[in-house]
Subunit: 191 residues, 4 copies
């Protein structure tokens, strides 16, 4: 299966990007082809209905839509901001949701989060499920939340904690199995 993967953070030292890199390797080991994107490639203005009518879809939105369309599923590592989804990621979803056909519908998805706190961003992921599932994404039920992220990675970018790494790998393998099952040529009938 083909997966579009990105971390929903613009920060250069983002722990979510580090986490995503590990998950991407695991997905490739599990047989998936992964298109690894930078969230900056999907740069968009703040959504504005008037702007949408005047200029149409902004370039970053067109890029994101095109990359989603080529994939069977998406893998997102997203920080939690204020107990919820980052405004930046939600803004991107709001733009993309205006495209017809809506590219997210019928795709599968896996979401994860890294956080400096003990809770690990899991509350933000529960809020992220809502727009994605509302838009018709087959989201993997298990999510992965990495707590205490600043000290969680070794010099090579691996997770220090073996049990944590195993849990992430199980999660990714389970998602790739699910996503492969739901991908083309059956996808058509799932809509």
């Amino acid at each position: 299966m083909n997966i579009l993967a990105f971390a929903a953070s613009l920060r250069s030292g983002s722990y979510n990007r580090k986490l995503l890199m590990i998950a991407v390797e695991m997905a490739r080991d599990a047989g998936a082809t992964v298109d690894l994107a930078e969230f900056r490639e999907f740069d968009m203005p703040l959504f504005d209905g008037d702007l949408h009518e005047t200029i149409g879809m902004p370039e970053g939105g067109r890029e994101m839509i095109s990359r989603i369309e080529k994939a069977d599923g998406i893998m997102i590592a997203s920080p939690e901001y204020n107990y919820s989804i980052p405004g930046t990621l939600k803004n991107a979803i709001d733009w993309v949701s205006r495209a017809r056909p809506m590219p997210l519908r019928g795709k599968s998805g896996l979401i994860m989060a890294a956080s400096g706190s003990a809770i690990g961003g899991i509350r933000g992921l529960w809020q992220l499920r809502i727009p994605l599932e509302g838009l018709g994404v087959y989201l993997h039920p298990d999510m992965f939340a990495l707590p205490s992220a600043p000290g969680a990675f070794d010099d090579e970018g691996k997770l220090k904690d073996e049990a944590m790494a195993k849990r992430l790998r199980d999660n990714v393998i389970s998602y790739v199995t699910m996503g492969t099952r739901l991908a083309e040529p059956v996808k058509a009938s799932l809509k």
Copy 2:
């Protein structure tokens, strides 16, 4: 695929049971084998950790677990109580979640609601997603909410509104396709 279906209502004239009956027929037309249960068959006391240690799983819980284990997926029609999941249904989930192996993990699911209001119980369904997905159920992203339920059925129990009936059928067919894809013999690898 094998589906366990029930309406999470104890009321005899339940609109959710009426809605479920229609969905069950549609699932059978789509090729699924459906085990149609009454929620009363799963009667359980209010959950109490001490009671669980003393008497173990109550009979209604054992029945529900056994029926879930035989199925690949579950189809639930649930009323919305106070903007959320009914306490009765949550109580059943709380008991069942104590069984090991936990029978809901790896099952697929479709949820729907009938309501007398204009909103149709959709808020309750969003709250129902949380324990089910947290427990590892592959929930179909689209849900079905029937508003103004008292006047929605004809004398034969069909939905009067053709467009509404079509939307329900599309939903059920999409779920059966997804559920079949995720069922045995692949299920093992999904856990």
Copy 3:
């Protein structure tokens, strides 16, 4: 102000009851009068619309309603079951919500949770907010979640961690201030 306080657990060794006892002392120190109840006093059958029409409100429900009516606010310590509100507590809310006038409307509230996990039951509290706020309760925005509850109490039932105890006290004092401000004789105008 008058507060009705209870722990939404039927288990004898409940950590939520231990946590509640501390919060009750703090509320009394802050000037509140507290009616400390056991959840068993509010024992009710599983909600069933037919049963409601036949027998009316069950005795445990009438007791809970009467105790809520005498209070200006409620303080609940609730476990998290399956990422959400316990079915038992939701069942009690479902019964009570059928009374007219609905006794929860216009009351203030503070909710807290104790849990054996590192997350401390905070996800369950976010789900508990929904029916309470939907029913018109002025819920204090800050909630208190006690993680790793089994080792959190000393022999006298106090919280071992001073910082944690301070945070709980600040929370309780802030709630009592808010609840007092919103209580009679202004309450009428708030409805």
Copy 4:
């Protein structure tokens, strides 16, 4: 009490702005002083931790913070995008939440939505509660959702439906009563 009011929409013909204008009049009738803002005054770039460290708070953020600080409460009319809070509004909250002291803490709030659909944006409001309450806002429990917004206003911008207008007025009056009670000079003790 002093209220900062704005509609979280950049669109010129926004139904949420129309709805807000009515609520602002009602709040003034109830004795509140209202600072009516345009969301464009709070224009901010997409949140980026690196940008925050380099340039600090953007001008639109400083403006929003200053206006919140002068108020006792906030009144927001917000559209629902994809079953949740608009990315634009969440982005503004994400920026403002970085200020110290955090200006939203201890403020009261009332939220409302207008929508072209039959559901009226209420699902988005439930998601909006989460970051606001997480940040310490005393949110009024009742919210107002206006369905079928395109046909809901008369030529003078009033709500055509009397019952709907009465419900909004009750809601606003109840909020002003609550907000006044929780405002200075007690506010300090509420933190």
